[in-house]
Symmetry: C2
Subunit: 580 residues, 2 copies
C-alpha cells in the first residue's frame, strides 16, 4: 500500500503548487535572486509576445481538433451566424413598413435565444418561451388596465397595484420554477417573470404599449421562424440521434472494459499503484475504467437528451409519431445494471486480496470463453441497436450461457482448489493432495494427476488504514500507518486470542477471491438476460426492421456517382473508431 | 423468473394505456356506449368544475408540502419578489433625474436575470453576465465606429460590415460556447452574443447609443446591486452548505442501505418479484436501493454545487479563503467507491443464485457484526463531516477491522461448508460429513458435532432469457421462454456431453455464492480505509476543529431567551430525520 501513500504525497504536492505556476515560474529551479527589472527588458517583452503567440497557436490548434472531432459544432456555429446575418437585414429595412426596422431588435434577440444545438432543445425552449411570453403579456396587459382603472381612486393606487403585482408574480413564478414536477418548464417561468416585469415597466412609461405589441409580436414570430427554418433546414442536429449514438457507444465501451478486465485478471497484471482518482471515483484515463464508467455516468446526459428528443418530429430513421425514446434509456439502464458487475470485476483487480496466479490459470480457458462470448453479445446487441434491427432466429445468448455453464461446472468439479483445507476445524481431508508447482497444467482427462493445493501467492489481507494509536493526532502522519496489515494491527493487542496462524487466513482469503470473481462473472451473464428483454421491448415498440436473411451480403450498395461522392466527402463518423 | 415476465406484461399494459387516460376516461369500465351529448349536460359541467377544484386543491396541498419540506424555496421566492418590488419603485421616479425612470426596465431585467437560488450561482452568473455585457458593448461600439468610418466609401459598406460582423461574432461566440474547457462560461458567451446583436441593431437605428450607454450601465449596476444585497443580506442560501449537507446525507444513506441489505440477506427475505426499475437502474422507491443509489447518482449534483460553491466568499462555518470544496467532493467519491460494494452486496440478494439459509445462519453473527460496525463507521464519519470535527485518538476502523478479521477467520475455518464435495473430480473427501438438517446450530466449541454438507436450497442457476428456437420471431412471445433455466436450455442439445448431474452444479453455485457475499463485504471494509484517508485529507485542508475530549457533554448549551426562541421557531432541518 506504499503506492497509495505515495500518491497521497503527490496529491499534497499538487495541491500546494498550481501546475501553471510551476510551468511559468519554474518554482523548483532555485534561482536565488529575483531580477526586478527583468520584466522591462526587451528580451522579456519578446518572450511575452512569444508566449502569447504560442498560446494563440495552441488555441487555434485545439479549436481545429474540436472541430474535426465533432464537425457538427462548426456547422452549428455557422448556422447561428447565418440566421443572425439573415435577420439583421431587417435593421436596414426602409419601406413600406418603417416600423419593422424600429423593432428589428426583437427579431434578432429571438434568434439568439431560440437557437439551440439540437432541434428538440430548440422546439422545447421555443415553446417555453412562446408560452411564457404570451401568458405574461396577457396578464400584464390585464393588470395594467386594472391599475389604470384604479387610478381614479388616487394616483398612489395605481403605483401600489403595479408594485404588489410585480412582487406577487415574481414570487409565485419563482416558486413554481422550484416546484419539482415543473422543473422541465423552468425556462418558461423565467421568461414569464422577465416579460411581465418588462411590460409593466416599459408599458407604464410609454402608455403606448398596445400599439407596438402587435408589431413586436410579429417580429418575434418572424425571428423564431427564421431561426427554426435555418436550424431545421440546414444539417439539422437531432437530440434523438445523439441519444441513439450514446446508447450504442455504451455497449461497445462496456464490452471493451469486460474483455480488458478479464485479460488483465488472467495475465495477473496488477496496478503498480492504484490511481487515487479511481479510488475516489473521479474521471481518470484508464482503458478498463473509462469503459464502464462512461456507461455508468451517462444517466443525466441520457435524461437530458431524452427530454429534448421527445419534442422532435418524426425524421430520418425515426419515422414514427411518439417515438419510444424512453425505451432507449431503459435499454441503457439495463446495460448499466450489467456494467455494475463489470465494475465489481474490476474491483477484484483493485482489491488487496489477490487470487494466486496458478489457480487463475486453472480456470483460464473457461473465463476467457465467457469473457469473449459476453463481449460478443454486448457488441452484437450494440450493433443491432445501431442498425435498428431485431434479433435473429438464433438465441444470441446461446454461446455465453454455454460458456458460463462450463465455467460453473469446472468450478464445481474443482472447488477443492478454491478452499484451503489446512485450516479446516474438521481437519484436513484424507485425500492425498500432491504439492505440484504448476497446477495450471492440470489435465482434465486425468483429474488425479495434478491438484496442487497450497497457495504460492504472497497476497495478504490488508484492510486499509489501520492507524497505530501513537500517530493518531497527526492525520497525515497517521496515513503512514497505511502499510500496516491487519496482522500488525492485531499484534498490538496481545489480549486478543490468536486462534490460528493468520498467514493461513490470508492464503484462504486470496484463494476464495477467485470464487468471487467467477461468481460475479456468472452474475454478469445472468444480467445479460435482462438486457436482452429490454432490447426486445425496444425493438418491438420502435418497430425495428427484421434482420437480414443469413448469408446475405451486409455491405450496402453505393448507387451512382453522388453516392460515391458523398461517401468520399462525408464527415468522419464519430462512432467509427468505437465500432472498430 | 415468472415474476419478471409478469412485470413485462404490466409494462406493456402501462405503455399502451396512459395512466391519465385511464383515470379520466375509465377505459376499463366497459360502458358500451359513449354518450356524445354528455359533456354538455349540467351534471357534466358540475363534474368538471369539481375536478378543477380538486386539482387546484391538490396543487395547493402539494405546494404547501414542498414549502414545508424545504422552506428555503419559499424564502427565496419571497426574496426575489421583494427585490423586484424594491427596484420597481424606479418606474415612478420623477425628479431630479427623469432618465432613470426611462431606463428603469434595465435595472428590473437585471434583477430577474442575476437572482439565483444560491449565492455562488448568483455571483457566477453575475460575473458571466457582467463580463459578457461589457466586452460585447466595447466591441460593438468599436465596430460601429469602424462601420461609420467605412460609410464614406459608400452606404453599402456600412451595412455589409455590420452584417458580416454579426455573422462572425455570432459564429465565433457560439463555437467558443461549445468548446469543452469553456463550458463553465457558456452563459457569458450567450450574453456576449445577445448584447452585441442588441447594440448593433438598436445603436444603428437611434445613433444616440453612446448617450444612453452610461445611463443604462448605471441602472444595470444598480439592479445587480439591489439583487445582490437582497439575496446575500436576507437568509442567504449557500451552495457550499448544500454540498456539505449532501455529502453528509450520502453517508447516512449508504449506512442504512448496508444494514438493511445484511439484515435482509440474513433473514433470507427475497424479492417476490424483482422490480423492473431496479433491473433497469431507474429510480424506484425501495429502502435498500434508494440508499446507495442516491450516493451513486449524486455526482452531477455535487459537481454543480461545487462549481457554485467556489464562487462563494468565506461565510458561517466556512471561514476560509479558497475553502477546499473539492475535498468534500473527493470524500463523496471515496464514499461512492464504498457504496459500489454495497450495490454489489444488494446484487447478491437480486441474484437468481441464492445461498441456502442454513449456511447463511452459520456466519450470521460475524456478518451482523461487520455490518453493524461498518454502518457505525459510516455514521460516525458522516457525523464528523457534519460537525466538522477531526477524528479522535481512537482508530475509527478498529471495531470493523476486528469484525472483518473474525469473519475471514470463520470463513477460513469453515470453508468446507462453502463448497460441495459431491462433485469433486478427485472424489469426496474421506471425512465423514453428517447430513444434519439444521447446521445453523453448529457449535463452535465442538466443530465435529454438526456439519451438514448438502444444500437444501431450491435455488437454481437461471441465466435469463434463454429463448427456444421455435419462438424467436415473436420477441415478446419469446420472453415466454424466460422461465427456462440453463438445464432446460441445454436439454435441447443432446449432442452436448453432460458430464455430471447438473442439479449438483446449481447446488454448488448456490453454496459458493455465500463466499461472494462475504468477500464483497470484506472488500467493502477494505475500501473504508480509503474513505478514512480522504476524510483525513479533508479535515486537514478544511481545518476541522479537534474532537471534544472524551466524556464531555455533547449537547450544545442554549443561551438566553433568544436562543431558546430560535430553537422553537427555526424551520425543520431537512437532515434531522436522516440523522436519526
Amino acid at each position: 500500500m506504499g503506492n497509495k501513500h505515495g500518491s497521497l504525497e503527490n496529491m499534497e504536492r499538487e495541491r500546494l503548487i498550481p501546475s501553471s505556476l510551476e510551468q511559468t515560474y519554474g518554482v523548483h529551479e532555485d534561482d536565488g535572486e529575483v531580477k526586478a527589472c527583468g520584466c522591462f527588458c526587451l528580451g522579456s517583452i519578446r518572450k511575452k509576445f512569444k508566449g502569447l503567440w504560442s498560446n494563440l497557436r495552441a488555441v487555434v490548434v485545439n479549436s481545429w481538433e474540436v472541430g474535426r472531432s465533432d464537425p457538427r459544432k462548426v456547422v452549428f456555429s455557422a448556422k447561428l451566424g447565418l440566421a443572425l446575418a439573415l435577420i439583421s437585414f431587417l435593421i436596414f429595412w426602409k419601406e413600406p413598413l418603417p416600423d419593422i426596422s424600429e423593432h428589428s431588435v426583437w427579431a434578432i434577440l429571438t434568434v439568439v435565444v431560440v437557437f439551440e444545438f439540437s432541434i428538440g432543445a430548440t422546439f422545447s425552449k421555443g415553446l417555453n418561451r412562446g408560452l411564457g411570453t404570451l401568458s405574461a403579456g396577457g396578464l400584464a396587459l390585464a393588470m395594467a388596465e386594472f391599475a389604470h382603472f384604479c387610478e381614479r381612486f388616487g394616483a398612489a393606487w395605481d403605483e401600489a397595484i403595479i408594485i404588489i403585482s410585480i412582487f406577487t408574480v415574481g414570487s409565485l413564478a419563482t416558486f413554481a420554477k422550484l416546484y419539482p414536477t415543473l422543473k422541465a418548464y423552468e425556462y418558461g417561468f423565467r421568461v414569464f417573470t422577465l416579460t411581465y416585469c418588462y411590460i409593466m415597466a416599459s408599458g407604464y412609461r410609454t402608455n403606448e404599449f398596445m400599439g407596438t405589441a402587435v408589431d413586436r409580436f410579429l417580429l418575434i414570430a418572424l425571428g423564431a421562424g427564421v431561426g427554426l427554418l435555418v436550424n431545421v433546414g440546414i444539417y439539422p442536429i437531432w437530440a434523438g440521434e445523439d441519444l441513439h449514438n450514446l446508447v450504442v457507444k455504451n455497449f461497445f465501451n462496456v464490452a471493451n472494459s469486460l474483455e480488458g478486465i478479464i485479460n488483465q485478471y488472467l495475465n495477473c497484471v496488477e496496478y503498480k499503484r492504484i490511481p487515487s482518482k479511481i479510488l475516489n471515483y473521479q474521471a481518470y484515463d484508464d482503458r478498463l475504467y473509462t469503459g464502464y464508467r462512461s456507461a455508468v455516468e451517462s444517466t443525466s446526459q441520457e435524461d437530458t437528451l431524452m427530454g429534448f428528443a421527445i419534442w422532435e418530429p418524426p425524421h430520418g430513421r425515426y419515422k414514427m409519431y411518439k417515438y419510444p425514446w424512453r425505451n432507449f434509456v431503459k435499454v441503457s439502464g439495463a446495460l448499466r445494471h450489467c456494467s455494475f458487475m463489470v465494475m465489481a470485476l474490476h474491483g477484484c483487480i483493485l482489491s488487496e486480496i489477490q487470487a494466486p496466479a496458478d489457480r487463475r490459470r486453472v480456470f483460464q480457458d473457461e473465463l476467457q470463453r465467457v469473457s469473449t462470448a459476453g463481449a460478443k453479445v454486448l457488441r452484437e446487441l450494440g450493433n443491432k441497436v445501431k442498425k435498428m434491427e431485431k434479433l435473429g432466429s438464433l438465441n444470441i445468448l446461446d454461446e455465453v450461457l454455454k460458456a458460463a455453464e462450463d465455467l460453473q461446472t469446472k468450478v464445481d468439479r474443482k472447488s477443492y482448489l478454491l478452499v484451503d483445507a489446512n485450516s479446516w476445524e474438521i481437519g484436513k481431508p484424507a485425500i492425498e493432495f500432491q504439492d505440484i508447482q504448476d497446477i495450471s497444467k492440470t489435465d482434465d482427462n486425468d483429474p488425479f494427476k495434478y491438484h496442487g493445493y497450497h497457495s504460492f501467492s504472497e497476497a495478504r489481507l490488508d484492510l486499509g488504514t489501520s492507524r497505530s494509536p501513537e500517530t493518531t493526532n497527526l492525520p497525515f502522519a497517521g496515513t503512514n500507518g497505511f502499510h500496516k496489515s491487519l496482522t500488525r494491527e492485531f499484534s498490538f493487542k496481545p489480549e486478543r486470542m490468536v486462534i490460528q496462524d493468520e498467514g493461513d487466513t490470508y492464503k484462504s482469503a486470496s484463494v476464495l477471491s477467485l470464487v468471487t470473481f467467477t461468481s460475479l462473472l456468472i452474475e454478469f451473464v445472468a444480467r445479460l438476460g435482462n438486457l436482452v428483454v429490454a432490447f426486445e421491448e425496444l425493438s418491438e415498440t420502435a418497430k425495428f426492421k427484421a434482420p437480414p436473411a443469413e448469408g446475405r451480403v451486409e455491405e450496402e450498395e453505393v448507387c451512382g456517382f453522388w453516392g460515391r461522392f458523398w461517401r468520399f466527402v462525408k464527415p468522419r463518423d464519430r462512432n467509427d473508431n468505437l465500432l472498430a
